[in-house]
Symmetry: C2
């Protein structure tokens, strides 16, 4: 039981191999009767083209790599789905590369992808560096990078950046409207670009208020663990810090939903009534956010859209490499749920 090749189809249809190729790829006009014979042979022989052979001959593989730092991070779920959906729709297959926040591992993956001659790579790992993008570029492979600080890659890759300003502005306005005068901010260490950009957006939003509320910054280092990641545990710690403040903030805005949930749970454990005693705003809109009680008000990232956008950008780049330097911006915006409420009058 050998593999059925294009040649088998050609022989059975009584045409040349190149005709077969052309009817399959619709790459030149073939007379209807001839075409039908070919199609019939393909059916009869259950012929399936070898993508490998095709790749070797055509010099592109219809495959792409997706570099992320952690499949376990709820941020990525929908991003992956978005990427996959447009990939599948375009005949592309995705190599998933999970760096696990490890630069060496990331570089290994890059090499593997280059060796496999993928047509493009999407960088969504916060733990990436310029060398990686450059290595990819040096091998004339296209790439799209989620703009997570560090070096400027806009000369050699398309980028996607998230506009947090809108979201934070809406969040602060929302709280101010509810009467909050002291708003805390909880995030990881500012040395991380991902944190800095959010913090800046928060500060700008505060400053933009007609009568700015007081902004209080919870101690960063206590909240985060090694690597700078913050999670639910970070929320517990953030709450402790928050509860200790003398005039207590009446609201808190966080840099991610897990952190917000941690604060929420810690607050409840401490006997707070939510949201009356403390308004909480998250960021990301992970799945859980709408499933806990009270449901979490959060600055939502259109994650599925980001995934689709990234893959579409990559496809554009692959199809017309000239079209570089398109920096796409996606906007984060507030979703109001039940974890925020009017501050209690005294």
């Amino acid at each position: 039981m050998k593999r059925v090749t294009m040649n088998d189809v050609a022989v059975r249809a009584g045409v040349s191999i190149s005709t077969v190729s052309h009817v399959i790829n619709q790459t030149r006009i073939v007379e209807e009767p001839t075409k039908q014979k070919v199609l019939e042979s393909i059916q009869a022989l259950k012929y399936r083209p070898s993508i490998i052979a095709k790749s070797l001959a055509s010099q592109h593989t219809s495959s792409a790599g997706l570099l992320i730092s952690d499949v376990g991070n709820p941020f990525y779920d929908e991003v992956i789905s978005g990427v996959e959906d447009v990939a599948l729709a375009n005949g592309y297959s995705i190599f998933l590369c999970n760096t696990g926040y490890d630069l060496n591992r990331g570089m290994k993956y890059i090499h593997s992808l280059v060796d496999r001659s993928v047509d493009g790579i999407i960088f969504m790992s916060s733990n990436m560096n310029f060398d990686m993008v450059n290595e990819v570029h040096a091998n004339s492979i296209q790439s799209v990078v989620m703009d997570w600080g560090g070096t400027d890659v806009s000369k050699i890759a398309s980028t996607i950046t998230i506009d947090f300003n809108t979201g934070f502005q809406e969040a602060v306005e929302h709280l101010v409207e509810l009467g909050h005068k002291r708003i805390a901010f909880a995030g990881g260490p500012s040395r991380l670009w991902t944190v800095r950009i959010r913090k800046q957006a928060f500060q700008d939003a505060i400053a933009d208020c007609p009568t700015p509320p007081e902004a209080i910054f919870l101690p960063e280092e206590k909240i985060s663990k090694e690597g700078g990641r913050v999670g639910i545990e970070g929320g517990y710690k953030a709450f402790k810090a928050l509860a200790r403040l003398k005039p207590r903030p009446t609201a808190v805005i966080t840099t991610n939903d897990q952190l917000a949930l941690g604060i929420m749970w810690a607050a409840r454990d401490a006997g707070y009534k939510l949201p009356e005693d403390l308004s909480i705003i998250g960021l990301d809109d992970i799945d859980l956010a709408s499933r806990v009680t009270p449901t979490l008000t959060t600055i939502a990232l259109p994650r599925y859209e980001i995934g689709k956008l990234a893959m579409n950008s990559l496809l554009n780049l692959i199809r017309s490499p000239a079209q570089l330097n398109n920096n796409q911006i996606v906007t984060a915006s507030l979703i109001i749920r039940k974890s925020t409420s009017r501050v209690l009058g005294k």
Copy 2:
């Protein structure tokens, strides 16, 4: 800037192309001086072999497909990591295929993987069918399937099955020791094999007790949504059903952690003190389980190990296809945390 090929290396080293191939693959003895020359050329030219060309010539691709139903399901996080870790360590790359609980989509992926000549496929999607496995087998591609009911594929694939008996036995024993006499079971619809197997394990565990506690089955259909999936919302509904029972069960065992968390949160919303008023046991040991308060006692699935096991089995199969019919069993076992406690004496 053309690609550096094996031929370039051969020319520079003054040897034949086949010698280069052999030193790279260590597939025949090459005199030390010759070998050094080749190695030096490789370095100097920064030569990297084309996996595509290699695949075409050698008829295997060092790539594999991983079919799962939903990246968003926390069950898969570590499974994926496990698969990836051993894949990476063995020079394999993984095509991630997210069926989204959709059979058609699954079949599309299968075809794509077959066309790409992957060396093997791991089926971890509950939404798979015999046709898929058979299609893969018909193309002489190896596969490992997570034994999620349906048809028997043991003749054409290696399988992994989870032993739930141990876990449920430990769970029931644990509750009995704590004095529980009425234990509820909350799960999705029994028509799903995944649910049935767990339910059976629960019933067996109850029956095995010296003095069996009473087993109460919460209404399945109310708990699950379309497709039979149960999540946090299901937990809320399960709790309502549970709270309505006349002599209230003092403990509940669920078929997954999300369900357990839903019950936990609903119970707290209803003013229960946990775990005193209700002991709750989950299943899976998802990340959240150890991060909520009270931390969740749960029947843990060694998910990372399952991933590693699956990929290792696949590699074995690829290396020696004869070695089929190895059905591996992994055991689920209880992790005791804080969501279970002694039943209050009256």
